[in-house]
Symmetry: D2
């Protein structure tokens, strides 16, 4: 059992988390290089590791000795260039979502992969690795509730960071439901509508929060997503699938029930790092195992592209107030 | 403590149920007359009662000795005439929903009440008398979850009767959510949209079942209603209110939890008579108590009118596929 | 449909409640006489009724015109005399629990009934009329979880009244579980043990609260009862039955789920009048229907006797600290 | 970051599992030697590893190059000798429970550690590493429900293996609750009683299954444990702590709720490998991190001894049918 040498591009909160995960919970892998425009930050992360180099240039990190795979956790606009560099070196890539901020960039990545004739890029939609989502997926695939008619989704954050914009409710948050819906249903999204209640007074001035985003799919399923990034009470991701013969709900998160002072109940997780900690671990373990064999074990570049295209339509629907169709290119054979 | 003499108009399933309820679970009231176009049926119901007369003509029943109040359980198209007769006699009325099939008929009833200068008509929206709905209403009124932003509603029946049409999903089923939303929020509905997944293969040929009905309200709340009348697994009415500082959900109906054969869970009620039995009882008890003092203890004629107007807009939205505004007359002083 | 004339003996909290129930939620019955040693209190209750007489002597109330049945809600030590008077007049009786404070008194009532050759006495163990208990009973009777091996019971009160003693935890509180267990299982209790943790500091000085009471039954089932009358957080009655092929739990009481401030959950009922309101209503309705035909529709005098005998053994076990067998007389044919 | 070299003693189901865990989910550790009396089995496990030696003699494995810590997963009777060998080499040990089958063996291990003056032995009570148990422990330690009065525990297996005996219900199964109760409460067990319903007909002939085991503790808490190893419906470990001001329950395991065919509910885990998979992972990660610094990160030899002593008293109580006190030696300073 040899260990896979990984270069981590981006050592902010997410990148540093991944470095820690690889050290602590993933056997068979080690970080051999890190890159960040902030060289001090890269250096601090590398110093915790045994013999890893620190770089400011991603390309230099990819060229470092022992690099066999790349984990990209830099900001979205930097993804395309880093992914293309990795593909030039035929390195397996795990790229944090979004693959690219727009559909056009994702198409260029798909073209590069097609030239190589191999899928090397995996996108970090980590819900596909969450135990509850997997249980729901297995139930749907087994026909346990019949053909799906609705997905009712809730996506709530206690509060949004200062830089969050009305567009990001769709492109940064609902994009998770877009991928989850596509994956759960095995269908593409064909149209998007957006309904907006009067914004919550708890939301920052000017932020259209919350919203109800409605997706229609190629298989005739309707998906409604409540996105509410300043709900105040915690982080909550729920999904109820309603099929022709039954329904199934995940995401209640009710492990310990406490009674006291006239009430029963429990705590709500405050953060995705609590809710999806294990999903991040499993994503990394699966990617390491697959990357060692040059394979993808999650969302691929097509999935990254489709998510970007639905996001673009969603933003248009939010602005216009009317239902907006989603236009996708024909799916290339490599991604079928 | 004297007892209130009630005439029951209509002795089908619903009317006969009400007669039994009055005898069994409502102190202080007795049925003194019943009317049904099917005189045999009226006679059979009357025979179970002590000294009640049976009639084929509703007007004759209203004129029978001892009649102090009227319960109308005839088919919807017969409601307007019966209500107007009762108003002529200044009798308190409990009228099963819908008050009238169309908004115009409800307006005529409102005019008759305004001429009398009194509200005598109560509409049988029994959810207002359900313990869980009342708990939710109290929480909202007390500001327990802040200003409401969303109501997420589920309304499911195991199967629909043979006569059920696509229109009735809205005018007969969702109308309950229309009234419940208006009552819970204290707001009027201002627009309706309808989204339709591919119909369930379990639905009868030609029935557009299920649907997602979206209501917008005068206070900026968005209400989504899944109506699914052939869900197969039972009768289920759920509502989650999401406010600026919290959420609250009713309708899970999880009393007994059973474990066996690798599974935990419980039974789902198969019928509204099970789920709302106690709400029907309480509605009757409250109406009897209020009617004795010439008062209304539930939805009034304005509520009946508003529900009919939203139904009309909902049917138009379902046909056109686009968002349809709801137009209401100005609310008369009697109903403020 | 004529109405059953009822004499109510005892017009304290419980008796006055019953009078209100009969007026409000029980069709086909009316209170025609009330008795209380406190004549003023009896008078005030009677004044709310239409033509009911007020008495200080129970015997006089039983002899009042129109009395066809008797509801006894006086303190336990007064029950035996009142029941025997009613039996002399061959009147159906609904007697609040306990039937008598000791087994010997209950035996004398059984003897009186046997002389009449009829069962006229029903004991107010209202859990037999609770919808959740009935659901559990039906499941057990249908073999839904196989032969019962355990009942795990929780019986909690927010706080105990000032007059409550350590003995009353068993004779007044656990006696409900004794009857419920006998009824659910169709078995007699054969031995009692009691384990006592260090008393809660929230319990009044000197009160042995909480306790764990262990019952063994004639069918080899083990019943454990947590009795905790100063738990602080509410009124809670739960029961999990564990059988050879499954388990079933009632009493969670989780109707509305609220989320806010980092927590999910709901309210806990604070009082048995909330938790068992409907059971009291149904008990009265069933008794009125049965009493009209001279029948019993709930626990009978044998059940009252058996509960008293188990209580006596429980008190002995609590004092001695060792397992104490329960001795019952042979069950007379009238009660089989 | 160097990696800790581990010798694994015993390569049966449990040992092979641990080897896989170390390779897959524990960063910073590698297996360098395995031992099993069945040399072929040891060889097959070693062949999957990169450069690990296979041995039939545990002592030889401990002496292999690169061994820095020892994981013992051999049968219980072999533990004492292997632990003592490891202590001679001053190697950190993770020993599967029970530390030894009897209290006397555990005392000898404690003596060896005391001679070394260091605690090097950790016992594999993995519930201490389960997220739900940890949440409950934190709540209790923070006084969230006040001083604990009861622990109500359920421990159920779908079925027991062929070799399972009536004694093993206590020494092999309830021993987990013994350790969990000691750890949750920070108290020692002072007495044990056992109540036995008629055995389930689903249990093998002669097996006294299920049982109710009652523990009393030094702090006046009462612990009841339902142990039922042939419940048929799954693997279930639940615990409700009842304190002076509230209660808390873990172990419901209700992640996904499915509705269909008139029922709501979900699946019950069938196996401890599902329920406690993550606890085993975390136990290993914590032990690896602690062992690198010569520390213990879980139950120590004293905990192993106390569990063995309570087991011995439990077996005596089961045989005699009466409450049996637990006698412990004075706790040596090394373990305070």
């Amino acid at each position: 059992m040899s260990t896979l040498g990984i270069a981590v591009i981006g050592t902010g909160k997410m990148g540093a988390d991944h470095v820690r995960r690889i050290g602590r919970t993933v056997g068979g892998a080690r970080v051999v290089a890190v890159a960040d425009p902030d060289g001090d930050r890269a250096g601090r992360v590398a110093a915790e590791l045994d013999g890893a180099g620190a770089y400011t240039d991603p390309a230099a990190a990819l060229a470092a000795p022992g690099v066999e795979a790349v984990l990209i956790a830099s900001p979205g606009p930097a993804h395309e260039e880093a992914v293309l560099h990795a593909l030039e070196r035929r390195l397996p890539v795990l790229c944090e979502k979004p693959l690219t901020p727009d559909a056009a960039g994702a198409l260029r990545i798909m073209e590069a992969e097609q030239r190589l004739g191999r899928r090397l890029v995996q996108v970090g939609f980590m819900r596909r690795h969450d135990a509850e989502y997997e249980e729901l997926k297995q139930l749907l695939d087994a026909g346990g509730i019949g053909r799906p008619l609705f997905l009712h989704c809730r996506h709530r954050n206690a509060s949004s960071p200062a830089f969050f914009t009305s567009d990001m409710l769709i492109s940064d948050s609902v994009v998770h439901e877009v991928d989850a819906a596509r994956w759960l249903l095995g269908q593409e999204v064909t149209a998007v509508s957006v309904l907006s209640p009067t914004p919550s007074s708890a939301a920052p001035e000017g932020l259209r929060d919350p919203r109800l985003v409605l997706l229609e799919t190629s298989g005739g399923t309707v998906v409604d997503v409540e996105i509410f990034v300043n709900c105040g009470f915690g982080y909550q991701v729920q999904c109820e699938a309603v099929g022709e013969s039954g329904s199934a709900r995940i995401g209640d998160g009710h492990a310990m029930v406490v009674q006291g002072a006239g009430r029963w109940g429990g705590e709500i997780a405050q953060d995705f790092t609590v809710r999806f900690a294990e999903a991040y671990d499993r994503q990394l373990r699966r990617w390491v195992a697959a990357a060692g064999h040059g394979r993808v074990a999650g969302a691929d570049a097509w999935d990254g592209y489709a998510a970007a295209a639905v996001s673009e339509a969603g933003l248009a629907a939010a602005r216009s107030g009317v239902r907006t169709p989603v236009e996708l290119v024909e799916r290339p054979p490599l991604y079928r």
